[in-house]
């Protein structure tokens, strides 16, 4: 493994965390983090989909869109590929490994339009990453996503027992917790040498 791959891993998982720095996929971050178990399952499903989606999007971009000068089609192609891919992955898992399907099943179709998946595919294409770099970036961004959502779920399980002033209950305290996490993650920016 060379240094550029390590840089990509650190940058996409920690420094430019999709949830805390880029704000992609915030809907699920605020919604699903209510329960620890659901957050972890969603995280694993995102790792799964985002890695495969980055790989497929990178291949399509390098071997079809760029050679035929169709880069302007990226948005349309990527979103359709992601939607189709999720369907295929779902059918494949249902047949081949029912155990995994049972654990991830309900989350897979919902990830189709998670902005983080499309965002990472676009980012890989615009940063000119190679196939390997795209897969690594996709995987480590998804790990960063999982890390952030599981951490927030942990914080929220503690907040639930606290006696908060009425206007802060519900979304505001979750957003403030996310802001504090985001400040903590800013510390990682020192790693982007």
């Amino acid at each position: 493994m060379n240094t550029s791959l390590i840089l990509i891993i650190v940058s996409s998982a920690l420094v430019h965390n999709v949830l805390l720095n880029r704000f992609w996929g915030v809907c699920s971050f605020l919604g699903v983090s209510k329960q620890m178990k659901a957050s972890a399952s969603l995280g694993v499903a995102v790792i799964f989909v985002m890695t495969i989606a980055s790989a497929v999007a990178s291949l399509l971009n390098d071997y079809i869109l760029v050679p035929f000068h169709l880069e302007f089609m990226q948005t349309i192609v990527f979103i359709l590929v992601i939607a189709a891919l999720v369907q295929i992955v779902e059918m494949f898992l249902k047949k081949s490994s029912p155990a995994i399907y049972k654990a991830l099943g309900i989350y897979l179709p919902l990830i189709t339009t998670n902005c983080a998946v499309l965002g990472i595919a676009q980012l890989n294409a615009s940063s000119g990453y190679t196939f390997i770099e795209s897969v690594v970036a996709g995987f480590s961004s998804a790990v960063g996503y999982t890390l952030a959502i599981v951490l927030l779920a942990g914080i929220r399980s503690r907040i639930r027992e606290e006696d908060l002033p009425a206007p802060l209950r519900g979304a505001p305290i979750v957003l403030i917790s996310a802001a504090l996490m985001s400040i903590a993650f800013m510390g990682f920016s020192a790693l982007s040498f």
């Binding site: 915030v26 699903v32 948005t75 349309i76 339009t113 499309l118 802060l168």
Partner: protein, 228 residues
Amino acid sequence: MNKYMERLYNGLIKENPTMVLMLGMCPTLAVSTAAINGVSMGLSTMAVLVFSNLIISILRKRIPNEVRLPAYIVIVASLVTVTQLIIKAYLPTVDKALGQFIPLIVVNCIILGRAEAYANKNEPGLAIMDGVGMGLGFTVALTLAGSVREILGSGTLFGLQILPKSAAIAIFGQPPGAYLVIALFIIIMNAIGIKTRQRQLVENDGCNGNCAACAMQCDDRKGKEEAK
């Protein structure tokens, strides 16, 4: 108030997509670093929304119900690509500031949400007004969030220095500031008693990881509650 003006009022105030429905949080958090970014993102989204509402409303009797979502996604993605190319060609500064967020308009809850909740049930004229109203509501909310972050973060508003630089709190211009400012808005709205759907969204299963289906789920849920 005729029904066209009612659509404008509905989008701007009664069902403001950001402040009341809590949709499209990703772009709201990401691009509200400065007031001008809020305006550009809001207007780009509005352009896509108006045309997607128009096209979907015209085609509402032609698109088979089973494949309507893929069809909507293709329509929206094409419009976003057109918008992206226009911005690249004529507004290079906007492209530089918002470049990577423009493609993500495709998965903005507001657009597919309005297609599903309004445009596919109503005539083109009303659908356009709904798009304009919702788009303006989104633009106003983004600009407001952007202005607050810009004033607190760097003491400027639309680039003009209105507070001394020493009074600026840099954190508001950085990612954590986005979460803080939106939290502040909701706290104020809660305190003065404006009902948002955020509690329902955050306390239930939210969008389940699905940005675009957010709006539809909420509408479904609302429908079910009304049925009860």
